[in-house]
Symmetry: C2
Subunit: 352 residues, 2 copies
DNA sequence: CTGAAAGCGCTAACAG
DNA sequence: CTGTTAGCGCTTTCAG
């Protein structure tokens, strides 16, 4: 239908400009909605550009504008499927806002600091740190360099770094109330990594709510990591404390824990109720049917993108989204051993 | 210890050059190992640069060299945890080779074509397409533009696009042999999406091996997608055919299928053996203990990076890595109902 | 081995 | 509204 170039040298604004007998500035302006250009002029340029297959070169533009329209996403291991979801939402949300995502996958043990020079080299407009640790020294150097840093599901005490996270404290408190309402009286907590703010907050919420209602807690374990295996081991240890409910720091651990419980002959939820945190896809699989706190990923991703690239330097430097308690079989004594339908239990009962 | 700038304007090669009384060219050369520079001169420059905190700006360099040192990673949804692993390995491998990864997460139904203009804008050196469909028209346009396109776990018949994948046909054949050795005689196949090459190849291997050994197959289902739910439904349907073994097109489906089987009272593996494909982390969880074909991700990622950025324009345009059969409880009739140890079954028995 | 000059592709300030 | 001019930060001939 229309001609198409076959040369490998890419076109420049000069090419389309000279073909139309206008200046390079005009084709630049034509692609900038905010620039004032005669409507028919703009149309003529855009038409010619599309016919030729011309697209403004982002590298050239970045050099001039000092903005690459790229946001760096830094994350550690993705052993926890929750982070795969986070990554997906964040990058989609960024695309919607006209940004691209540069991915930095850190090897275990490696911290952000070592990769920072590379980020700087690419003039990224902002950095979203998802599941990795950053030292406060580096963080302030970043802020000084004028770039924005946003922490996702992490907070860094002592630095004014904007962050967005789920209400871990509130979620844990919801869980306590739910378990107590189910008739549980001996609640235990299986912690993940001690040095992550998510884990610390979930534990704090759990303990504080228990204290408020005057109920002693049955026991807790400290974990090295947050894996299926850690959950398994935690459950084995916690069995010594004879709990009637265990709150695991995240879903992956809870799944491991449930397996241990089943093997030891403890029925879930009749003998021991189990609740996790995150609402990963596997939690909804009816094999597991794990009660959990659902993190509002879409809203969290949107907030993160706002903080990273929108220039609403508003007051909300720490955005906290409430999570939703999703009650499934693992903690629902009322429905325990009730009849099951024909389709997998992807739908779940929500609390009233 | 050493002084550190606190200005937000970033340093340029000019800054360090003028401080040392040399030309900008020299500092550029100092950072290029291939350039000929007097050793002590290079040291002087590098020292000054590090003291100042100077790093060459990648955008400026890209403009000049026409190489951004960025590779685009295109992928669809990450509902299947296998792709999270793929992403992680690919980006790590790229970093090792000195490249950064630009991530393109496509919404369901969206194809690569629509995002292509953006990729072009950033002068990415190559594109690795992981789990998405690309039209052959677009593919050839890409090749014409001089950039390299590599398909990961996908092939696009009719185009000479380099690809790297696991030996799906061979893996499926291994599975048939294994199941037959276990005494199974009525093998069924639960397919995933009909339009993915992985699914097609796995089915072909399965059927061809059955034909070779003269064994009829017990039945198969066609899936719309590749989810847990699809596996569940497939298992329900396949039960009508009274199979004694089911090969699911991937692990996620197999997990869904096993759940359906358990609910219907079919014991795994005693009544029905189950095998998946991919070896996602959840397959090793002892809850599931799913036999599967492990894809050699590290090697596959390395190959993909080679094809994408190394200039070994060798003959191997289609790299196929063999998978490894991992036998776990779900297909191991010999060990079925055997005693279990104290630790989760992360280790697995390999075939002799 | 080093310096000077040119230019990658683009946008923005300044005139008209 | 449009053209001209001047760089963004870097590498790369080309001379010396």
């Amino acid at each position: 239908m229309r001609d198409r170039e076959r040369q490998s040298r890419s076109l420049t604004s000069h090419d389309v400009a000279s073909m139309l007998g206008v200046s390079r500035s005009m084709v630049s302006r034509a692609f900038n909605p905010a620039a004032s250009v005669a409507p028919e002029m703009r149309k003529r340029i855009i038409d010619a550009a599309t016919a030729l297959g011309y697209q403004p070169n982002a590298i050239g533009r970045s050099l001039q504008t000092r903005s690459s329209k790229i946001v760096a996403l830094v994350l550690g291991t993705m052993e926890n499927p929750f982070y795969a979801q986070v990554l997906e939402r964040l990058s989609r949300e960024l695309q919607l806002a006209g940004f691209q995502s540069l991915l930095f996958s850190l090897s275990p043990g490696q911290d952000v600091d070592s990769q920072l020079p590379f980020l700087l080299q690419y003039n990224v407009d902002a950095v979203v740190i998802v599941s990795a640790s950053i030292s406060s020294g580096v963080a302030t150097r970043w802020i000084d360099s004028g770039r924005r840093v946003v922490l996702f599901n992490r907070t860094l005490p002592g630095t004014p770094l904007p962050s967005v996270s789920c209400d871990n404290v509130g979620g844990a408190r919801q869980i306590v109330d739910h378990l107590v309402a189910q008739g549980c009286r001996r609640l235990a907590f299986a912690a993940g990594r001690k040095d992550t703010s998510t884990n610390i907050e979930r534990e704090r919420g759990f303990l504080s709510r228990l204290a408020e209602i005057g109920m002693p807690f049955a026991g807790k374990t400290d974990g090295e990591h947050c894996t299926f295996n850690d959950g398994y081991k935690a459950a084995v240890h916690l069995l010594d404390h004879k709990p009637d409910a265990i709150f695991f720091a995240n879903d992956v651990m809870a799944l491991g824990g449930m397996e241990a419980l089943r093997e030891r002959g403890a029925r879930v939820p009749e003998d021991i109720a189990v609740v996790g945190f995150d609402d990963i896809p596997a939690a909804a699989w009816r094999t597991n049917s794990l009660s959990t706190i659902r993190q509002p990923l879409d809203q969290m991703a949107a907030s993160a993108v706002d903080l990273a690239v929108q220039d609403n330097q508003g007051p909300e430097l720490k955005v906290i989204h409430p999570g939703t308690l999703v009650v499934r079989d693992s903690s629902d004594k009322g429905h325990a051993a009730a009849g099951r339908g024909d389709a997998p239990a992807e739908t779940s009962r929500m609390p009233v």
